[in-house]
Symmetry: C2
Subunit: 114 residues, 2 copies
């Protein structure tokens, strides 16, 4: 499918969430937001590119650190409003700006486990 034209960018003012998953290990690494331009650049270059809400501009993950995310596959959800990007970690392989491999490195406590 042509992801540029079939995604629904209306629900979050032009943005869609993009989950990045390690293509080899299945580990969820980060969630970023893409606008249509970020998605087009991701597809054209093969390197995950997002729209920074705080800086109001596109950013290719790893453009300064070298820790780029090389796209291996992109899946689209049933509502056409979310992407799952399967990627290979380049550079030192640490995706989070804190230097950790994944951005999800804190555990919520006090959860009822059914």
């Amino acid at each position: 499918m042509d992801a540029d034209h079939m995604m629904d960018f209306t629900k979050l003012s032009g943005l869609i969430p993009a989950v990045v998953q390690d293509a080899a290990s299945g580990e969820v690494l980060m969630v970023g937001f893409m606008n249509d331009e970020a998605l087009a650049r991701t597809r054209a270059t093969g390197f995950a590119t997002f729209f920074s809400r705080s800086r109001n501009q596109l950013w290719t993950k790893g453009e300064t650190s070298g820790n780029k995310l090389a796209v291996r596959d992109i899946l689209i959800d049933c509502d056409d409003d979310t992407l799952l990007v399967k990627a290979e970690r380049l550079g030192d392989g640490n995706v989070c700006h804190t230097g950790e491999r994944t951005c999800f490195n804190k555990r919520a406590e006090g959860i009822t486990i059914p």
Copy 2:
């Protein structure tokens, strides 16, 4: 960490994205949005509960189908604005309303693979 009080709900008008991942297989199943109340209910009951933007109300995944998501772990990202919910699929195990196991069942084509 006390996820109710440490999450940043300000970036998306009171909502945060919550990625649901199969606790056993690592497959990414869906992305929903939670407000503080949905997160509190998720933690208290152990069943993934979201805020429906279209219906403007809380919904516990599987409340009608029986295909609930039993929480096994919740991880918080570095910016405290996204959750990763690791869950066990109950019922027939199909998470998507289309009857598929995962909501991510379409492949984007025409991507440059670096």
